[in-house]
Assembly symmetry: C3
């Protein structure tokens, strides 16, 4: 089987890209958004429901009842599982059929029914699922640092939903150049530190670096008349995690220089999970270990600076207008209008070296899976505190 970049954006069960993605734990929901009703969720082109049973256990099982196919999205949550409204079959979080009130016999028929189910785990407010082979022996769920309590405070944003291919978003982070061009007039550029570092006129150097967890982009800029360089790192954890180091500086600090000297105490993780080839959801987690007890309130206020800077002209009926001034809308206008990788024409230059390296690494990972091997980033090393960190250094480094 020849794998190319055309395989990357396809996520369905029988695709090479989808087979690769299924080897990892992926977040499929937020604890705070899961109530006492089943929640329909499409993951990797499979229609599923996520629910928490009356005993508190979370399940991710097939949306359509194993009996005659009615949607379990409308089922009732009970102590031990979810009950189909049609004929009352009861399924537990493991896909076992516990009851069939319409059947008079013993449990033999129950035992024959195997409903689709995937292992799930809670970690730091997110619900992760493993949809790959050997469900009994899944790989370890990494102790992502932002999800493990280690003396800080955590904030999870409401899940966001995007109507374009997941990889457009993901590979965008291997491309730092867009930061000082696309985002040049939004938060990144408009504030003191960002303005200084992410200057389109005097942009930082950057290199993509192969890492055990995936890759990172290391941006750096010399301080004139000094041996020091300012460094900022963006990391891409396989298969679909982003960790951005500079968020605190950009959004959270009036006095960037002071922080520069003491280092970052803020992590900003984004977990991307494809719903299908044309939709994905994103879970955003902030973890802060600094001294400010009201940090997230301050962060919120700082982010409000990202107000839209465009006044719409009367004749401007373009559907995504306005967008300038808000990083998230700027992303949607660009990534969201790209067609799927493999279905668009491109001319890649040297400034796309991060994207080129990422695609190559993903193609290699897909190949590895296709050949029966473990893909990159499946087993991640923990630090002394037992945390899996994705690099996100921001600060001064001696040259």
């Amino acid at each position: 089987m020849t794998i190319t970049i055309d395989d990357i954006p396809r996520v369905g069960p029988d695709t090479p890209g989808g087979t690769w993605l299924r080897r990892y734990w992926l977040p499929v929901g937020c604890v705070s958004e899961l109530f006492d009703i089943p929640m329909a969720v499409k993951v990797l082109d499979e229609e599923l429901i996520l629910f928490r049973d009356g005993e508190g256990k979370i399940g991710l099982i097939g949306q359509y009842c194993a009996h005659r196919g009615a949607s379990l999205e409308y089922g009732d949550i009970e102590e031990r599982g979810v009950r189909c409204p049609y004929h009352g079959w009861l399924f537990d979080v493991n896909g076992n059929c516990l009851e069939q009130p319409s059947e008079k016999g013993g449990k033999e028929f129950c035992a024959k029914v195997r409903h689709i189910s995937y292992p799930v785990r809670e970690l730091g407010g997110l619900i992760f699922a493993y949809m790959g082979p050997n469900a009994d022996k899944p790989p370890p769920l990494p102790n992502y640092s932002a999800l493990i309590d280690h003396g800080g405070i955590r904030q999870i944003e409401p899940t966001r939903h995007f109507a374009y291919n997941w990889f457009n978003f993901y590979e965008n982070s291997a491309d730092p150049v867009h930061v000082w061009i696309l985002h040049g007039s939004s938060a990144y550029g408009a504030q003191t530190w960002g303005n200084q570092f992410f200057s389109a006129e005097d942009p930082p150097e950057f290199e993509p670096v192969d890492m055990p967890y995936g890759m990172k982009i290391v941006m750096s800029k010399k301080i004139s008349g000094s041996d020091s360089v300012i460094v900022d790192e963006m990391s891409l954890g396989f298969p679909s995690i982003l960790q951005v180091g500079d968020t605190e500086f950009v959004h959270g600090k009036a006095d960037a220089q002071k922080l520069m000297n003491t280092g970052s105490d803020f992590e900003h993780f984004m977990f991307i999970t494809p719903n299908d080839d044309h939709n994905f959801m994103m879970f955003t987690i902030d973890y802060y270990t600094g001294p400010d007890p009201n940090f997230f309130n301050h962060l919120k206020k700082m982010r409000k600076r990202e107000e839209l800077k465009e006044n719409l002209k009367a004749y401007d009926t373009r559907p995504l207008m306005p967008f300038r001034g808000n990083v998230r809308r700027e992303d949607i206008v660009t990534q969201g209008t790209q067609k799927l990788l493999g279905e668009r024409k491109e001319h890649l230059g040297t400034s796309d070296r991060g994207v080129i390296m990422l695609r190559k690494m993903v193609v290699e990972a897909i190949k590895a899976v296709a050949e029966g091997n473990d893909p990159k980033g499946l087993y991640l090393e923990e630090n002394n505190e037992g945390l899996v960190r994705l690099d996100s250094f921001v600060g001064l480094r001696e040259h």
Copy 2:
């Protein structure tokens, strides 16, 4: 040709299922809903218009003009037919082209034009069409008892439209179990008689029975300390008719026991006509032969008891909520979320024996048609009054 249950839900002109359905008269409209304008109606995946000409004759003809294909939905009704707005061709109810004002010659060209048309008949307020072979010698249109005046009063509901496959609805009636589970907290369960008979804790016995017109489900329950059994029948007339015996008890009677002793004087027919593979319409006819002159008013009030019993929680954004407490919405949440038969995974048990028998009978009927034979239920026997009855006995039977 091998026919399987996968063929059942497909209704198009060249499908085995559609060829079978075309052997029967199917209702395509309601007399009370047909005005002095053409009505576009899709039947078995064919685009048609239904209209009544100025002389009172009803026609079911192709939607698109035989001349250059403009829609006759916007045609003008005249004494003898419908006239295309584009060039004025006039078509009668038999698909004959009567006039071509744009053509100067004689009637030769008119005579050459054969526009699609199907025989139609009015019966009891419904308009039936025959879309099968040998249109000149169609099978008899059965004198369905609820459509023939025999000393009672009739009520036709406004036509209902459903956006899912017709067979999901139809086979649901071969499955009595859903009544005491899905509908357990709606009208069926909440009222005296229904509560007693359709108890989920103590459900009635039931058996599917092969009948000349199709099949029926006979539900029965012994009365303790008596030789009598209460019997309730639901009938499925081929190809797509339902007759439910217990409606009067459930909806219409405060004093069920009294009625139980005297027998039912109420018929509740539902005629299902597929528009295409993903939509169908339903015509519902009630016929009452009892002593209450205001029966339908009382029925209406009783049905109002079917109020939605669920208060929607703020976080509950599921599109079909709320549904509990209303039989019709409960049906939509279950049947309407099933995929097409043959495209869903199922595990059928002994309680599905009605559904299994029905599917088998339909497959046999499709096969019969494919082999050039008449399908089941095409010719139906009339009773002494000249009526075609579908069993709907409800009441006491001596054991």
Copy 3:
């Protein structure tokens, strides 16, 4: 390759019909509707943007950036071109990449990038594009008389958008019969002159005539007791232009007889440009050379007579109702409900001889292109004033 009428409605890049259409200049926008923002426009199934750079030059280039495929619809207009918001690549109106701020090297990489672009020309307020082969040596853009100043006044209507196949609209003009039938109760029929000439009871004679620019329909009617005939012409310029002679009479004149004697001084051009197989846009240009300085105001008032003549009945829920009384809505109800040519059943009569001839001529033109020859109407003769006229005579002719 066998070309049939089935090829006519298809306009995509690799279709015979689309290849034929690409041999001509087609209008793609209106000068007055092009502002200082890019305008996304689909032409012949290609996604493009139209824009005017800061120096005033107009460009029609591919919608998706040659770099990584973000939509240039959201680009910024600059002095020399449009700049992609993602990484700042700058494209000029000829598809040259002028700047790549993300690339540090010289201009070599810029020079390698060829972005889709098509030649455009402004003429009389319209923007024409040539999307065919040999873009450096396109055929001449004809000096269509309504677009060249020659002592009159011009009016361009707001661009109209239609959601059906372009050829349904175009061939409609080769079919004069619909005028006195479909439009019999709207402007054409209700006013003095139109009523007299376009009488359904006494319709004019008509003949389709092969012309160098395409074809014309010549309608004529004898004046009783006179040697004169009234003549009215509708012209179809290849590939998709309509010129209607009688508009002034129908809409603009109270005293038609007087004008009849002096001849028409009004031209009414409609340019049709397909967006794709199911959508087209129309550019309508009026040019008036008569003595009335307020002609277009008067025309506007006369057109207001075209009020909808139908009162909608409460039960009439047909989506396109009402339509009678307004020529444009009457067109949509008929042409807009026709399926694509080749996908509908037809019975053509002698009154369809205009349509038949037109289709034959288009098939011949498509064939010519497929065989490497120039299609009909590509090179048009100018009159003494340097104008390309499409016949639109209306008035008296001696017999």
